[in-house]
Symmetry: C2
Subunit: 353 residues, 2 copies
């Protein structure tokens, strides 16, 4: 344990051992070609013997590049991010960057504090589902290259999923199954995705002549979805689209324990296609976001930005979403306009057949 005091060798040690100047050692590593091939080889050999490794910190000081990128996530606990993290990580590693992960714990304030402490450390930042205000984001985008993920902020490049298209597909699917009224379970109000999805739903629904109704907002969690049951019962529909999979799962569970059957009594569609979506019973029909690709795209774009590229397009980069049809959606049953599961009997307007 106490071995840790042995300081690791520096370029000076290597320089002395190899009989050259420290600058030559530095160049042998940082700028091969700038130094004679043989010399470089020799230096490299000596360095290897000494176990020399260039100290990234010391390197970063004069160059200003740390080869670190920050990934800030609104809630690491949310399975939605698992694949995003991995995608980001992959892209970072591939480019020789290391990732600094920060959990904002669904709090704009904590997010800010964390950022405060790390902006100066990183070469760029990916903000995943940031809960900060647009202006706060723009503020930090002034200090470092920033890419926002799953959100659009004017003047800041972003990558998002094609929510409108995904939503349209979900609506068409539901329409084909004979559903006429769709309830949207809203997520957090601070969420850009939530706004986009609801907006997309209204448009999609209009196209195919259905009706949409929004309830919420709820927490974007299983508990939040379950909590939505009461509101849903007050204004029941045969189909529900939830802000995300977690809420969809929560709702399904609540419905089930309330005695309703999914998908027979009500069809439920989620968003994101998180890992658990195919595990639950019934398996969840959901709009799949290309999670891995998003993480990857975000980091790649960020790195391009950091290298001085102009922000590619002025709009967000939009990645295609797909509808994954599983077992939580089915044909609407003609005689099930009014639910048997309502905690409150509905206003009577919807008469039983």
């Amino acid at each position: 344990m106490a071995d840790q005091v042995t300081k690791s060798p520096t370029i000076y040690d290597v320089a002395r051992a190899a009989g050259v100047a420290s600058s030559t050692v530095s160049r042998a590593f940082a700028r091969p070609g700038r130094v004679n091939a043989e010399t470089a080889e020799r230096i490299r050999k000596v360095a290897a013997e000494l176990g020399y490794r260039t100290n990234p910190l010391a390197r970063a000081l004069p160059t200003g590049r740390t080869c670190l990128i920050g990934l800030v996530i609104s809630d690491v606990t949310n399975p939605f991010y698992n694949e995003i993290i991995r995608g980001a990580q992959a892209a970072a590693t591939e480019a020789g960057y290391t990732m600094l992960l920060t959990d904002a714990q669904e709090s704009g304030v904590k997010e800010r504090e964390a950022l405060e402490r790390s902006v100066s450390l990183v070469d760029g930042i990916v903000l995943a589902s940031s809960r900060m205000s647009d202006s706060a984001i723009r503020m930090i985008a002034k200090q470092r290259p920033v890419i926002v993920l799953n959100r659009a902020v004017s003047d800041v490049p972003s990558v998002v999923t094609d929510n409108p298209r995904g939503m349209r597909r979900a609506v068409h699917h539901l329409a084909e199954l004979g559903h006429e009224r769709i309830t949207y379970l809203a997520g957090p109000e601070a969420s850009w995705a939530d706004g986009t999805r609801w907006q997309a739903l209204r448009e999609a629904v209009h196209d195919v002549d259905l009706h949409a109704h929004r309830i919420g907002p709820f927490e974007p969690t299983v508990a939040g979805g379950a909590a939505a049951l009461a509101d849903l019962a007050r204004h029941p529909t045969s189909a529900v689209i939830a802000y995300n999979d977690l809420m969809a799962i929560g709702l399904i569970r609540a419905l089930t324990t309330a005695g309703a059957r999914v998908p027979d009594d009500v069809s439920v569609v989620g968003f994101d296609n998180v890992f658990a979506a195919e595990l639950v019973t019934p398996a969840l029909t959901t709009v799949a976001a290309p999670l891995h690709a998003m993480g990857q795209a975000a980091v790649r774009n960020l790195l391009a930005l950091a290298r001085g590229a102009r922000p590619t397009t002025h709009g967000p980069v939009s990645l295609p979403a797909q509808l994954v049809v599983r077992a939580s959606t089915a044909h609407r049953r003609r005689n099930s306009t009014s639910p048997a599961w309502g905690t409150t009997r509905v206003s009577g307007s919807a008469a039983r057949a």
Copy 2:
């Protein structure tokens, strides 16, 4: 976007503006008390006006402390780590440290490479379910304080869950339900936890006079669990304990599609109590690891170590595990010694009642 060229102010800028020496500015922040209260106050005010923030990199160079800790995870995609990450993050933030997250992608080699690039950056490292060899771990423990999570390596402090106790509880639970033979679905061979669990199972089973049988190893994933079905069918038992929840879930699914009922035909117990465990149908009975606490404990111990504390005990810090009984375990049915679901009919030795 181009604003990023504006360099941020340094202590020199502040010093000039405040009419003091740079060292005084430095001390005003780093060592309050060493400098006159009024002066400090004035400096702080000027600094605030200039928007000065101390550059952690520059600070780290002379001090050698980066206030960064590395968390290396064998597979970020595994939900098992979600809460661990958060626990670790919480403990780190609370101590003013930032976390560097690395995904080893279940590869000892990638793990090593990643470490290679980051050891020199961090003040300490938490290795979660490392896939590296003991000696490799000891090697890096020589360079930096290291805590291994979910594994025991001699001479390196670690935090683990109390697998033996957890296993004992699971076995007793199964015994009470009348099961006599238990199959263990083994996880990765490189996994320390796997060895411990199997060992614990054998002992626990011996105590209560049951029988245990091990099949595997399998991938510690849903697919791995599903893949285990064939082996299980060859040697069926009424109860199964899986290396982890993911495998348990996979097995349950495979069993179900093969026509077996869980828990009626076979009881399944998992390990870890990941998020999805309570979501699946039937909800999974599992040995719950204190995920959040583990991440937290790991980081706290690491920080203590980094501060120069002697490794607390010489054995691993063991956190209590609990059995969470849900719906995937039930009384053994007398007449179900031989399964109706076997893909291969069993050797006939186990006659139908």
